[in-house]
Structure formats: C-alpha cells, structure tokens
C-alpha cells in the first residue's frame, strides 16, 4: 500500500471533462474525501455527478485536471487497485442466470480478501432469495444484489451511484443501516443520490454540483453557509405576501401579531432540500444570464 492514513482517499483538482461533441460536462471540480468519511455528491440530472463518479471509478477518461483515488490515477488503476475498490453502478439491465449465492460466491473469488458471502446476503436482506436466479428477482431485489456485489470484495473505498433507486421505504432504511455499519468498519464512501434525506442521514460532508461546477462544499449541516439556514417568516398583509429572514423569528412574529393576527403566518427553518434547491436555482439563473 502506498497510501498513508492521512492522505485523502479521493482527491480531485480542477477536474475537467469535455465530451467528443464539445459538451463541457465538468468545468473544473475540486474536492477531497478523507479516509473513513462518507461524502455525498448531490446535484440535478445532467449536472456532472455521474461523469465525476465514473472518472473516479476508472470508467471514463478526464480531459483536464487531476484525480487520485487511493493514491492512484483512476485512468490507470490496475487489478490491485480494483481489488481495493467497490463499485455500485447505477441500475443496469443485467439478466444473470446465476442465483444470488452463486453470483456472490463467484465474485468473492475474484478478490483477495472478500467478505463472507452469507453475511453479505444477510446484510442486504436477501436471505430468502439466496437460491433464486437473479433475473427472476424484482427490480428492488436486484438492486440489493448490486449493492452486495459492490461490498463483497471488502473495499477500502465504496462508490454508491444512486444506490437506493427503486427501494421501498423499509428497504431504504435497511440500506442506510448497512451503509452506517460499513462506515463504522472504516470504509470510505462516495455516494450520489437524488434523495436529500438520504444524504443528510448518511453523509458527513456533501458537495453540490450544478452546471459542471461545485456550487457548495461543506459538512451536511453547514451546507450553503449560516445565512442559508436563517429562518424565514412569511405572512400576508392586505393581500400582499411578505417574506423576511431573521435569526429572531419569535420576536418578529410577536411584533406582527401585536397589531392583530397576521394572515397565513408561517416560520420556516430551511432543510437540506430548501438549501439545495436555492443553490441549484441560483446556479441555473447564473447560467441563464451567461447564455
């Protein structure tokens, strides 16, 4: 191993990707992920999340900047490097004719230090489907097999690209528990997701990508800065809607109600979703101005 514990597991500097048609998917992205950290990459469709994660997984070549994954340029990751990385791709249309247990046993053999097949089957909740052929499973069950195959090699770094798409709420909770236990064991995780509650539940830090750029990068509960979290008071006076941000919403509400009950009064504490939408909208507006 040529990485020490203090080196970041993933380091991305000014990462750029321009596709052959000239589309600039990434316009210079910077972030790093420390060992043991769970990092969530958020952003709307087409923002560059998948391009970023696929470059880091070694599936795509970058056109500029630098990327290091476990100390290695992912464009030249060899088998030894792949042995240390686990990948859960976005859902695929694979129609494997193997059973869940056969598939996991086969993939486990490819790694030098795999997890126990039975433990992984239990961890993803497929005990009663272990003998079923994968092509006969439901979409959500097949997604659990994807997750199982991603962790069977006992990776140091796990890529989870929209892992819970197609999961019912219960399956999603189970998956969250599984992810937390992987984190406890020291696994570094890079997660992309459309579910902001998922990012809030699992992520230590998050980066929001929009229009090929990182528009925010911080601990989940600091994303967008302190001012993005300032409560909003909304009310209607004489038919005109009002909105005011204040750190002392109680005081404002008291002042407003001194002269009678205000219409449609509400106090909003922006959640991750509100902050996310504000940031993404701002980026979109900026793009619109440029265009």
């Amino acid at each position: 191993m040529n990485t020490t514990n203090r080196e970041p597991v993933v380091e991305v500097v000014d990462l750029r990707k321009t596709y052959r048609g000239g589309f600039e998917a990434l316009k210079g992205i910077d972030f790093s992920i420390a060992r043991g950290e769970t990092f969530a990459l958020l952003g709307p469709n087409g923002a560059g999340k998948s391009t970023t994660i696929e470059i880091l997984e070694g599936y795509r070549d970058r056109t500029g900047g630098d990327a290091r994954v476990l100390g290695v340029d992912p464009q030249h990751g060899d088998l030894g490097w792949k042995n240390r990385v686990g990948i859960v791709l976005q859902s695929s249309g694979e129609q494997a004719n193997a059973t869940v247990r056969e598939q996991l046993t086969h993939f486990a053999r490819l790694y030098t230090n795999p997890r126990s097949v039975d433990e992984v089957i239990t961890a993803v909740g497929l005990d009663d489907k272990a003998g079923t052929r994968i092509k006969k499973l439901s979409g959500g069950q097949r997604r659990r097999v994807d997750v199982a195959l991603g962790i069977i090699g006992n990776p140091e770094l796990l890529f989870l690209d929209e892992p819970t798409t197609g999961f019912d709420p219960e399956a999603r909770r189970q998956f969250w528990d599984l992810t937390r236990s992987l984190k406890r064991e020291g696994t570094t995780i890079l997660l992309t997701t459309h579910y902001l509650d998922e990012a809030a539940q699992l992520g230590d830090r998050a980066g929001i990508i929009a229009g090929g750029r990182v528009v925010a990068l911080a601990a989940i509960d600091e994303l967008g800065g302190a001012e993005a979290r300032v409560p909003i008071v909304r009310w209607v006076a004489q038919g005109i809607p009002h909105e005011q941000r204040t750190d002392r919403p109680g005081e404002l509400v008291a002042r407003l109600s001194a002269s009678g009950e205000p219409e449609k009064l509400e106090v909003i504490r922006p959640a991750l979703e509100d902050i996310y939408l504000t940031l993404v909208d701002a980026e979109r507006a900026a793009q619109g101005v440029l265009a």
């Binding site: 490097w81 792949k82 249309g93 490819l110």
Partner: protein, 276 residues
Amino acid sequence: MSTGSAMNPRIVSNGFSRIRYEVITYFRQGDSVFFTFLFPVVMLTIFSVAFSEETFGRDAAGVTVTAAAYYLPGMLAAGVLLSGLQNMSIDIAMEKSDGTLKRLAGTPLSPISFFIGKIGQVLVTGLAQATLLILVARLAFGVDLPTEPTSWLTFAWVFLLGVTTCAILGIGLSGLPRSGKSATAVIIPIVLVLQFISGVYLVFANLPDWLQNVASLFPLKWLAQGMRSVFLPSTFESVEVGGEWNLAGVAIATGIWLVIGLIVARLTFRWIRKDS
C-alpha cells in the same frame, strides 16, 4: 505497483472459475441452448429422416452412404461455428449492452481470465455438442464411425483449431452489432449464409465454382472439409476441390483466420466504450 503483480497467479485460477460460471449459466439460457447447442442435432435428424430413401454414394466396398452419415461431418463443422462464433459474438454483445462487462471491468478480473472463461465455455459446450451429434448419428441412425486412430487425431485437431478460431472470431465480431438487441439479427444471417455456401446443408461439390471460391475465403468451408475427411469413406475424396482432402489447406486457412481473429479481438475488444 507491487499489488498488481501479486494478482498475476490469480489470472489462471480466476479464468477457471469463470469457465465454471460461464458453462453453468450457458445451459440455463433456453434460447442459446436451442439455437447454438441443439440446432445441429435437430438439423442432422431432419436431414437424416427427410433423405432416408436417398443414397449419397458408396464406399470402397460398395456399401451405400446414408444421409445421416453424409451430413454428420457438415453438422459437426456447423456446431463448431455455432458454439464458437455465433454463441460468443451474441453473448459478448449482449453482455456489453446489459452492463455485465461494465460490472466486471470494475472488479479485479483480468480480461485474460475473462477470455479463458469464454473460450473454456466454448470448448466444453462444443465438445459436448460434438459428442451428442456423434452419439445421435451412431445410435439413432446407425452411422459407422471411423476406427483408425489417425482419423480421430485429425478430428481432434480440426475440432480444437476450429473451435478456438471461431471463438476468437466471435470476440472480434461482438463489436459489430450496435446493441445487444440487434446482436442476433446481425450475427445469425452471417452464420446462416456461411452454412449454405460451405457444404453444411448443400453438397459442396455441386455448387458452382465461383460460389466454391467465395466459400473458400471463409473458415467454415475448410472445417467442413476437414470433418468430411474424418467421417466419409476415401471414395469421396475425388469429388473434393483438387481431388484431395487437402488437410494442409484446412490447417493453413483456419490458422490464417485464427491470426486475423486474434488481431481484430486485440484491437477492438473493450470492457466498455469509454466515451459513449
């Protein structure tokens, strides 16, 4: 990086693990078992029954050669083409489009182990298919099999060279279909035309010269000729092109295709299309 070379001994053992996996999953796939594995057996049965009243010639002792005896070598050659080229090219094209290859590309599986698995699968299923064809010919249609060891030696090298060449050509052809869905539509006509012009379904000696010349450019004609030299009586040698079995020609033509296949496969095979 030292971890890279530490993985090398695993290339062979992972390859064998792939063979097992590939063979098991192959036989669970109903359509490929029928169209590549059983198809020559079905065709042999149909031809043997349909032309059961006809004679296809006589051996040196004057004994007539039945339809089953006449068609066995052609069907063995066709089986080599189906198990090798058709099965391999469609299989890999499908795996490319359904994400199987992308998943494997993310694991510490060497492409060499992957191909050991593929070629091993073709060898195992091709051999099972040839055995089945020969057993059906012998037990159901009473075809006399060669008794000289040299004939079986010829069979062994023609089969091994043919199956390997077809499998590797299949890897090269797997890049031709643009999607997994179009794979059967692109590959099966190629394979079917080759079977018609190469002496599998039609008597090769009866084809016009120009068509024989066209067929001679492709490996199936040579494989069928090699198989005829094993299973047909020596009296049939005179109707071959040039009046001889020309086993050297079989080895050279198939060998050239093997080299072409290796080059094409090496140049075109990718786990995934990186910038699609």
